[in-house]
Every structure is written in structure tokens, then in C-alpha cells.
């Protein structure tokens, strides 16, 4: 009973999607499969961005610089991969770049106790400026983007095989990270301490948990996740770097995080919803439906964002201490 009332929106939404999918799959299997596969791909950077947001906000620091972290990391990953010719180095560079920016955010908001919104904005502006300035036309990845990993017979199953078992490595990695981070957050000492610091830092401090250490750790690790999201964009989704290629995904990731109630699994579900809206939009454009109004179609993911955030999250409660710099006296 209380389970049903508590998750009624999730249940309704999930039931709707399953029914809708079965219905369309009946006579349009190819399109349905394409939309679902695209949903997963589109959701990947949102999931990574949202996981970064969760790591930061659960420890009490607002990070609106995810967009900047992803953009800069997409760039760093691309440059390193194209000059070394090794995608793995590129991914590592993307993660490292996100972590460095996370450390910088921690320095501004934890050590200097500055305003967290301003600190995040600094990251965004810096990323846009630097990547635009150093951007060079004509670079490319000698190896091409990451390649598809197949799982034998699993990949040949109808619909499921194409959707879940015909992806590229970072997509699989992201699917793995969701339960891992959920588990870490709710079943490890690190997770308990993180939540305590985000809710009531002085209480955590009085039992010997260092607020500063936890916040630095989470901002740096979270930055690594956003960096991975950036690397995904340039090295797996597109295969090159384009100006402003994050295109607001870092901000949508924040909406995803809130809609998912600061819970990794919830955020994953929310990201799928946004990814789905995006995939449907692409299909529409591809088939030329509503072709007179491409801007309208392009707006769809954002409309979904607004409706969802305004409509459903009413009672979601953010960690109590977010946004407040912590000092002892």
C-alpha cells in the first residue's frame, strides 16, 4: 500500500512506457528498437552528469558546473585521444580533467567558503572560453570512436539484444556505475558519512567525520564522473569535438538528479525518460514528421524537463545543508 502510493508516478510512467513499446513494436519493430537503443545512448551522458550531481549534493555542495566539467573533459579527452591515437588515454584524460575541475570547485566552495552557485558558474564560463579558444578545426580520431561490444547470442535477441547488448564500452560502464554508486551511497560507511555531511555537517563533525575531507573527496570523484560523461560525448557518441557540444546536457542532468530525488537509481529512471524524449524527437526529425516545425520538436526534451520538474518533484527534499559553506563557529 505505502509502496504503491510512494512510487505511484514511477509505476504509472513505467507501465505507460511498457504498454506503449509493446504496442508500437507490434507493427514497427525496427523503429521501436531504434528509439529504445537511442534512449539508452541519449541517457548515458545525463546519467553520468546526474551521478556527479548526486555525489556533490549528497555531501552538501551544489554543483551547477557539471556542464562545464563535461565540455572541458570532452575536449581534453578528444585532444589526448587524437594525439596519442589511444582512446583509453583519451577517456583517462577526460576523467582526470573532470576531477581537476572538481578539486577546483572544492577549493572555491569548501576551502574559500565561496558561494557555490558562483563557483559552479566560474567552471562553466571557463570551460566555454577555453574550449572555444583552443578549438582547432580538422583534428580527428585516428582510430575512430569506440567500437561496439557484442555479447554473442545475447546480442541477437529481438529488441533486447539490439537495445542492451549492442552498445559501446562507456554505455555499459555507465549501466554498471548506477547500481555501484547506489550501493556505495546507501550501504557503505562512505555513503553514510556523505549523507550525514550533506544533511547536518556539524553533527558529522562531532563524531570525528571531517566535513572538508568528505566534500573534497566527493567533488573530485563526482568530477571524474562528469569527466567520463564528457569523454563519452566526444569519444563514443560523436567521435570528434564540436564547439559547445554538451549543449545543456549538464543542466538537464541537474533536473534528472532532482527528478530522481538525489538517488542514483531514480536518476537513471529519470534520465531514461529524458533520453526517450530525445530519441523520439530524433525519429520525428528523421522521418520528416512535423517537418515544418523543427524547433518545436527540438524543444521536446526541454518541455519534458520543465513539466517533470515543476509537476512531479513537489515533495522531493534536497539534502538539508546544500548551498551553505560550512564553518565551525
Amino acid at each position: 500500500m505505502s509502496f504503491l502510493t510512494r512510487y505511484r508516478w514511477w509505476i504509472v510512467t513505467a507501465a505507460f512506457f511498457v504498454a506503449f513499446t509493446l504496442f508500437t513494436a507490434e507493427f514497427q519493430q525496427a523503429q521501436t528498437t531504434a528509439v529504445l537503443a537511442a534512449t539508452l545512448r541519449q541517457s548515458t551522458p545525463l546519467v553520468l552528469g546526474a551521478l556527479c550531481g548526486i555525489m556533490c549534493e549528497r555531501s552538501g555542495v551544489i554543483n551547477i558546473g557539471i556542464e562545464g566539467q563535461m565540455l572541458m573533459s570532452a575536449f581534453a579527452g578528444f585532444i589526448v585521444a587524437s594525439s596519442t591515437g589511444d582512446l583509453l588515454y583519451g577517456v583517462a584524460a577526460g576523467i582526470a580533467c573532470g576531477m581537476i575541475m572538481g578539486a577546483f570547485l572544492a577549493f572555491l566552495s569548501v576551502t574559500l567558503q565561496g558561494d557555490q552557485i558562483i563557483a559552479g558558474t566560474v567552471l562553466n564560463i571557463a570551460a566555454i572560453g577555453l574550449t572555444s579558444f583552443f578549438f582547432q578545426q580538422g583534428r580527428s580520431l585516428p582510430t575512430g570512436k569506440t567500437s561496439v561490444m557484442r555479447f554473442g547470442a545475447l546480442s541477437d535477441l529481438p529488441i533486447v539484444g539490439r537495445v542492451f547488448f549492442t552498445n559501446r564500452p562507456l554505455t555499459y560502464l555507465t549501466l554498471l556505475l548506477v547500481p555501484v554508486i547506489w550501493y556505495a551511497l546507501f550501504r557503505t560507511t562512505w555513503g553514510l558519512r556523505t549523507r550525514a555531511v550533506g544533511e547536518h555537517p556539524s553533527a558529522a563533525e562531532t563524531v570525528g567525520v571531517s566535513v572538508v575531507r568528505i566534500r573534497y573527496l566527493n567533488l573530485i570523484l563526482g568530477g571524474g564522473l562528469a569527466g567520463l560523461g564528457g569523454a563519452y560525448l566526444s569519444l563514443e557518441a560523436v567521435g570528434s569535438f564540436e564547439r559547445l557540444m554538451t549543449n545543456g546536457k549538464g543542466f538537464v542532468a541537474l533536473a534528472v538528479m532532482i527528478f530522481g530525488r538525489w538517488n542514483p537509481v531514480g536518476a537513471w529512471g529519470a534520465a531514461l525518460l529524458f533520453g526517450y524524449a530525445n530519441a523520439v524527437q530524433t525519429q520525428f526529425q528523421f522521418r520528416g514528421w512535423l517537418a515544418d516545425d523543427p524547433q518545436f520538436i527540438g524543444m521536446m526534451p526541454f518541455i519534458v524537463t520543465i513539466v517533470v520538474v515543476a509537476g512531479f518533484v513537489g515533495r522531493a527534499r534536497p539534502p538539508a545543508a546544500i548551498g551553505q559553506p560550512y564553518s565551525r563557529e
Binding site: T188, G191, A196, T206, A320
Partner: protein
């Protein structure tokens, strides 16, 4: 215990000084805490007790002076350092994470694991249950802390300190919201720990507890130590005089009540707690004008839900609350307040004050919107400030300025702000939960006189308190609450302390 000589104190403060802006909270404070002894720290509200122990625990940094543990000078830069030196502390302002469970709060920072950082929550719950049993402080380890009444939160705060098995234990007003039985249990626990060699610093405003348990007593006033004594050398009156600097009346002078017409009537009230379980379960009572109706009970028997329901803070399932025959069931807190109900809430930090706002603003929180405090939507600072100045003087609220934020006040002074505001509301009904929680003896005398004064002016008073002495000395009629019902209602003269105590813990079966 180790190779240190018996004379080496476990914990020593030497020449501690601490200022907050212009306020001198501690000045040249010296304190010696011996192993195996209970050292009571006494003083008026704002005397600097919490500041001193917060320095000893590394929460505040002293401007000057030195802290020594087992004779060695130590740096106390954070509670982490204090914990390293095996110091534990119960905080006056609870340090609990509201959204976490009792067990999670107690083990936080010291969690049982299944290796490699994997939490073992089952073991945590078992350990907490065991701990609670050993110290007779029963608690549900799975409850979320924010759903608990303050008395229960106090237990969690105490258990959290006991869980760590410290060599030096600091308790800042651990008994402020405990019932006498719970307090007696705790004092026994402390004696046991002291016998095992633990050094204990114990802050309280209840002189009975000091005399019952302390080996040494240090009294502070105005940020300085004014003297050290032992229970053998003094008595309650002596201690009170040392604290306040004048003699204090410890019993309230009170004339016979002259009750008038009924003001508050509660009929068959049903209210659920935060976890949806019935908390008030068919409770009825009437309070007449000019009388004080005291509700005695162990915290967690529906007191909080009863008070929240009648002040509009909680949904009523069934039943009715009538004020002068007007049905106020389902009215908003503002409507109820405007109908003449004053409310001193049990949780002063959460429902009583807006911490970052000034003391003056907090003193008009229930009337800032009407004349003379506001006219045509504009706030009238002259009226607000002159009222605030008067209340600060009358209630002896220790502060540098009425413009200071409420959160900078000491615990007892925060309580005084709320009590002052509500007692000057001009109400017909006063609902007071723990109105003297953490208030020093000198000020309790004043607050009690004010409550009796209200009664004599025809106000109906509903008093809820864990402090049985307070109920007994103020009430004209007493109701005992047990599992959401009043199991007995009697005139104060017709019921004795022992009977109330039995009813509180066992319900009507005991009578």
C-alpha cells in the same frame, strides 16, 4: 590507569579565554577533572559553560589558554582530535542527523562493517538495542530521528556518546528533557562509569542532580569561574546563591486557584504520529480559565502530537478541539494564534525560533504583522525594539544587543526568548511544553511566577513537562498521559508523586 601518577587530572583547562565579537564568553577559566570523578559545572544561562566544554571538545578554538589530557598539553583543533584523546560529548544543542535512523546516528563515524567499508546495519541495530538495554534507555533503532519527540532525541544523543566508550565524558545538560526516572537511571549510569575510572563533566541546572551525583562542583558566572565546592560543603540554596549571586526562592508562591468558565475543551481526540501510528488515542480534557492543568507523562506518549494538533501544526484524525465553544479543529496555526492561543513549543530550535533573525524579530514572531508592530504593511521598528528591550530586561535575557541573531544566544537564553514572547501574547489559553527547559534556577523562579500570574489574570494554562517537580509545583489539576490517553485526572492536592510516577510508566493498571 596508565603510568601517570594518580594526581594527574584526566582533563585540565588552564587560563582559557574566548570572545565572540564583543561578548566575552570565557575569561581565564581553570578547570581540573579527575579520573573516576563526576565534576558538575554550574552557572546561569549564558555563564559560558557550553562555550568552555565546546573548547574542550575541539568545536570552538580558544583565543588563549591550554588544554591538557592526562597532563599532556594537546591541540584541540577539531572534535576529531578530542575523539583521538578518547573524549566523548553529549551536546546541549543535539548533534543528530534528522533524516537518518537512530542506529545510523549512533554508529556514525564508528560504524560496524563487514570489512572494506561495507556497512553492517543489522549489527548496528543489534548493538544499539543492546546498548539501550544495558543503560535502560529504551529506543527503537530503526526510527527516523526527526520523527522522535525531544525526550527520545535526548536519549539518542546520550547513547551516541556512550557507544564510543570514552575515558572522558562531557555531558552538556543531558537531563533537560528527561523525566525524573530517566534522570535517575542516567545518574546511576554515570556513577557506574565513574567507578570504572571515567572522568565526567556534567552540566545541569537541576541542583538536586548535582547534590546526588557530583564529587566536585565548579560554578561559573559571567564567563569566569567563581568557585569550586563539593556537595558535602553546601546545599541547594547555597549552590543557587553561588550561581546567581543572590538568594533564590526555590518554591513557587502560589495562591488557591479560582477557576472560571471552560476555555479549552478537547473531545475524543485522535491524532497520528509521523509514522502514521496512533499517538493520541481518544483523549478528552477541559481546561478552565484561571487554572493550570498539568500533563505528566514519559515523553513519547502523545504529548507532542497532542500539543501540535491543538495548535494547528498537525492534522487531526477525529475528535474536536474547542476554544470558548468555537471549534478550532483544522484551523491554521495563525488562526489559532489569533484566537488567543499562546504556544511554547517543545523543540525550541525547530519550532520556536528563526536562528538567523534578530532577537527583536523573534520576540514578535507571533504578532509582527499587526499594530503596533506593523502599520499598512510597514514594520514599525520603534515599537518592535522598545518591546524587545523591555522583554530582554524583564526576562533577564543575556545578550549584547537585541539586534544579535537568536542563534548566538546560549541555550537557556533562547528558551527565555520564546517564553517571553508567548507569555506576553495576551492570550486566553497558554499551551506550554517544557517552558523552562534548560533555564537556570534564578530564571525558572521568574518564569514560574509569570505563569502563575497569567493564571491569576484568568488565562487557562495547559502545561506539559517531563519535569515532575514543575508539574507538581505549578498545576492545579494534573492529568497523567499514557499511550495517548489520560489515565487519570485529579486535583493537585489529591494525587501524590509516587502515584503519578506509577501511572506514567504503567498506565491505569498501576492505580
Amino acid at each position: 590507569m596508565d603510568d601517570a601518577t594518580p594526581q594527574t587530572p584526566a582533563l585540565e583547562a588552564i587560563g582559557i579565554g574566548k570572545r565572540f565579537d564583543t561578548v566575552i564568553a570565557n575569561q581565564d577559566v581553570n578547570l581540573r577533572i579527575e579520573k573516576g570523578q563526576i565534576h558538575a559545572l554550574l552557572g546561569e544561562n549564558g555563564a559560558g559553560k557550553s562555550t568552555l566544554v565546546n573548547i574542550l571538545f575541539g568545536l570552538y578554538r580558544a583565543d588563549e589558554g591550554e588544554v591538557r589530557v592526562n597532563g599532556e598539553p594537546v591541540r584541540m583543533d577539531s572534535p576529531h582530535d578530542a575523539i583521538e584523546h578518547r573524549i566523548g560529548m553529549v551536546h546541549q544543542h543535539f548533534q543528530l542527523v534528522p533524516v537518518l535512523t537512530v542506529a545510523e546516528n549512533i554508529v556514525l563515524g564508528n560504524e560496524p562493517t563487514r570489512g572494506r567499508g561495507l556497512l553492517d546495519l543489522d549489527r548496528a541495530a543489534d548493538e544499539v538495542t543492546e546498548l539501550a538495554e544495558r543503560f535502560s534507555l529504551a529506543i527503537d533503532p530503526g526510527a527516523t530521528v526527526e520523527d522522535l519527540p525531544v525526550g527520545m532525541q535526548q536519549r539518542v544523543e546520550i547513547l551516541r556518546a556512550l557507544y564510543r566508550k570514552a575515558d572522558i565524558l562531557i555531558l552538556d545538560e543531558p537531563t533537560a528533557v528527561l523525566t525524573p526516572q530517566e534522570t535517575d537511571h542516567l545518574l546511576e549510569v554515570l556513577r557506574g562509569l565513574a567507578a570504572e575510572g571515567v572522568a565526567i563533566v556534567f552540566i545541569t541546572h537541576k541542583l538536586r542532580e548535582v547534590l546526588a551525583v557530583a564529587d566536585q562542583v565548579t560554578v561559573m558566572r559571567g564567563g569566569r569561574v567563581v568557585g569550586t565546592t563539593t556537595p558535602a560543603e553546601t546545599d541547594q540554596a547555597g549552590l543557587a546563591e553561588m550561581m546567581v549571586g543572590r538568594s533564590v526562592v526555590l518554591r513557587v508562591a502560589k495562591t488557591e486557584a479560582r477557576p472560571g468558565a471552560g476555555v479549552l475543551e478537547i473531545r475524543d481526540l485522535h491524532v497520528r504520529d509521523d509514522r502514521d501510528r496512533p499517538a493520541v488515542d481518544g483523549l478528552s480534557l477541559e481546561v478552565r480559565s484561571g487554572e493550570i492543568f498539568g500533563i505528566a507523562g514519559v515523553d513519547g506518549n502523545g504529548q507532542r502530537e497532542l500539543v501540535e494538533a491543538m495548535t494547528g501544526l498537525r492534522t487531526i484524525d477525529a475528535g474536536a478541539v474547542l476554544l470558548d465553544d468555537t471549534d478550532i479543529t483544522g484551523c491554521t496555526p495563525r488562526e489559532i494564534s489569533e484566537l488567543g492561543v499562546a504556544h511554547v513549543p517543545e523543540d525550541r530550535e525547530k519550532h520556536g525560533l528563526i536562528g538567523p533573525h534578530s532577537i527583536a524579530d523573534n520576540l514578535v514572531l507571533n504578532r509582527y504583522f499587526r499594530p503596533p508592530y506593523a502599520r499598512r504593511g510597514l514594520r514599525q521598528h520603534a515599537a518592535i525594539n522598545s518591546d524587545a528591550e523591555r522583554l530582554v530586561t524583564d526576562y533577564d535575557i543575556r545578550t549584547e544587543s537585541i539586534g544579535a541573531p537568536a542563534r548566538s544566544l546560549s541555550g537557556g537564553n533562547k528558551q527565555k526568548v520564546i517564553t517571553a514572547r508567548e507569555l506576553s501574547h495576551g492570550a486566553r489559553l497558554l499551551v506550554a511544553s517544557q517552558p523552562t527547559r534548560g533555564i537556570d534556577v534564578g530564571s525558572i523562579e521568574f518564569v514560574h511566577q509569570q505563569i502563575v500570574g497569567q493564571r491569576d489574570n484568568g488565562v487557562a494554562v495547559l502545561l506539559v513537562s517531563a519535569e515532575l517537580d514543575e508539574i507538581l509545583s505549578l498545576s492545579d489539576r494534573i492529568g497523567v498521559i499514557f499511550k495517548g490517553r489520560l489515565v487519570a485526572i485529579a486535583d493537585a492536592g489529591d494525587i501524590d508523586r509516587a502515584t503519578i510516577g506509577r501511572l506514567m510508566t504503567a498506565g491505569s493498571d498501576a492505580a
